[in-house]
Amino acid sequence: MSSATPVWAENITKRFGKAHAVRGVSLSVPQGSIYGVLGPNGAGKTTTLRMLLGIIDPDSGTRSLLGYDVPRLASDRVGYLPEERGLYPNMKTVEAIAFMGALRGLGWAEGRTRGQALMESAGLGHATGKKIKHLSKGMAQLVQLLGSIVHKPELIVLDEPFSGLDPVNQEHLEHVIRGERDRGATILFSTHVMGHAERLCDRLSIIAGGLVRFEGTVDEARARLPMQAHYVPNMQSDAIGALLPEDATRVGDGWRFIVPEGGVERMLVALIKAKHGVAGLTMQRPSLHDAFVEIVGKANIGDVVAEQEQAL
């Protein structure tokens, strides 16, 4: 394992009773990157993160966190926002942030000072004296996020950080994540909302059925699907279909089809010669959402079982 790999796992598995939550996840998070763990509900994302952090132990496989095989030994250098948010309702906001810092080795006084500054920079300066129970859910979630970064950790693990936030706070959270990356921290977060991953991730893993189905950059994920074109002719005619690729389908006034390997130039020349003309032509790269649906859709449970048996 390289020292530039803050998080590393090799074929970790976890079973709860008879249910396989994680069937063999391997991943490697480069230092200073924003790394996304994507997957549908029940894919094993949270279990994977909990194993990486040492909250629970894997049944098999190996893992390393900031160079330690025992993740807890690195806990003072890690920040963690769990999926199920948790704060003491009677604590005041700054005290809650300082408490979370103290859990990670930061002094109380320093934690309060930093907490105050973080609250103000997050636009929550008005709530510094309030108790957690008097905050909205979104505000409490932001306070918890600030608590997870108050000790300036080298690695920040965020489990579904955007859930429950309104669009403004989601935007703010993205800003915070980029800021932490710019500070030099490595960010590992899970989500099933593709928009955030598309905007933030340097690299990502897509997990489905407890297995990693894809690992790479956002562009690499999108590249798994061919580019699509949307063509609108000047003159409508049923004969147009014969000049387009076989998968072309009528969509309103135009046609949608996958761009052929050789490009669209030859096809356009043929359409113009046949007097159909080109009123519009848009080429669209597939989104991460499309890639995700395609990757996850293939991973039905039958495949999973077969792959697992093969692995054994």
């Binding site: 952090l53 963690y80 948010r85 948790g86 704060l87």
Partner: protein
């Protein structure tokens, strides 16, 4: 190690402040005051009821008018000499010839309770009394004896033939009896305080489980540090409680001078200073051990009802431990006493009693180390069970005992 202790301190500080900085804590701290007020109010009522019973009680002599003066004088004299003031007042009733009928009528009187009635010749009097009023009957017999003896000797009723000089002294030491009393006080005191205060730890993880903070704690700290920190935090609350009431009770004893009387009853073999220190240490161990058990059990419980159901067997076990330890300190050389001193859940009580009965200090060093090991083992085991059962880390009982889990 210092890292681990720092982690414990963070949790302990949070828990201590979370309890102490609430209005509920004031209620908790002053709860015994409510008990004392109720006890005083109830006690006062009981005293009044008892006094009215005493006021209504009488002993009576049915006598001729010429005997009445001597009988009254003898009664005053005997009460003064024997300290029989607590017995019912004497009433002298003039005889009308049918003494037996009158005596029977007196026992049926509505407004006065006659406990004993004497009639007939003073040389051979008849004394009727209620079965439970033997002492009252005895006083009447002595009155008759005193009158007859004085008349025979020709001396005044109130003249004593012997003139003793009473010299009350305070015992220099309480002796073996004092040691046993001290041992019993120590066992009961530690048991009572532990059961009263350690039981609170049973619900300490419920808050973290309900508001999901446990995930934050489990990710940042070893669960052993979370458990020990919580115990230390709650022990701080218990210490505050004990200190507050020790000062209050100490002050009350000092100002009422009852402290001297109580201290005279107590005679620990190791000396009062070391004894108090040892009692403090044993209370600490007892609290931490029972608290760890309660915490471990409470951590597994999913609902408040589960907590209540699970804590009852532990309480019953502790009462049994108290019984064994009490029996042991009454028979310090017995096998039962040795068992109580060694068995981890009764050791703290029994060794506090041991300190009262035996001057040797070295067994206490061994006992404290032994008990500390059990506290550590209990916390370790409770944390492992929590990891397996609540955090679902898996590994089964092998992991709970710190062994490597089987994998397939």
């Amino acid at each position: 190690m210092s890292h681990f202790l720092r982690q414990c301190a963070v949790v302990a500080r949070r828990d201590f402040l979370a309890v102490v900085a609430t209005p509920t804590f004031l209620l908790f701290l002053l709860a015994p005051l409510i008990m004392i007020i109720i006890a005083i109010t109830g006690g006062s009522g009981a005293t009044q009821a008892a006094q009215s019973t005493v006021d209504a009680a009488r002993i009576a002599v049915i006598a001729a008018p010429q005997d009445a003066f001597d009988i009254k004088a003898a009664d005053d004299h005997l009460r003064a000499v024997n300290g029989s003031d607590f017995l019912p007042k004497l009433e002298i009733i003039p005889t009308h010839g049918k003494d037996e009928t009158l005596a029977a009528a007196l026992f049926g009187a509505r407004k006065t309770d006659y406990l004993a009635v004497m009639f007939g010749d003073l040389k051979k009097p008849v004394i009727r009394h209620e079965e439970s009023s033997v002492r009252s009957a005895g006083l009447l017999a002595e009155i008759a004896e005193q009158v007859v003896r004085s008349r025979a000797a020709g001396t005044p009723i109130t003249q004593s033939m012997s003139h003793p000089v009473l010299q009350p002294i305070k015992a220099a030491r309480a002796g073996v009896g004092g040691q046993r009393t001290t041992a019993y006080f120590a066992v009961f005191g530690i048991f009572f305080l532990t059961l009263l205060l350690a039981g609170q730890s049973v619900g300490m993880l419920a808050e973290e489980k309900s508001n999901k903070v446990i995930e934050i704690l489990a990710a940042a700290l070893p669960l052993e540090a979370v458990f020990l920190g919580k115990l230390i935090g709650m022990f701080g609350v218990a210490l505050l409680f004990v200190t507050f009431w020790s000062v209050m009770i100490g002050a009350a004893l000092f100002f009422t001078d009852a402290g001297g009387t109580i201290m005279a009853m107590l005679s620990p073999a190791v000396g009062m200073g070391p004894f108090l220190i040892l009692c403090g240490l044993y209370f600490t161990m007892s609290y931490m051990l029972l608290g760890a058990v309660f915490l471990g059990v409470g951590g597994q419980a999913a609902t408040i009802r589960d907590i209540q159901m699970l804590s009852l067997p532990i309480t019953i076990l502790q009462v049994a431990m108290y019984g064994i330890a009490s029996k042991g300190v009454a028979q310090p050389e017995s096998t039962l006493a040795r068992f109580a001193e060694i068995f981890p859940f009764s050791s703290a009580y029994a060794m506090a009693g041991h300190a009262a009965n035996d001057p040797a200090l070295w067994p206490h060093a061994l006992a404290l180390i032994w008990q500390a090991l059990w506290v550590a083992a209990t916390i370790f085991f409770a944390a492992r069970l929590f990891r397996i059962g609540v955090l679902k880390s898996g590994g089964g009982l092998r992991a709970a005992f710190g062994l490597k889990a089987k994998t397939d």
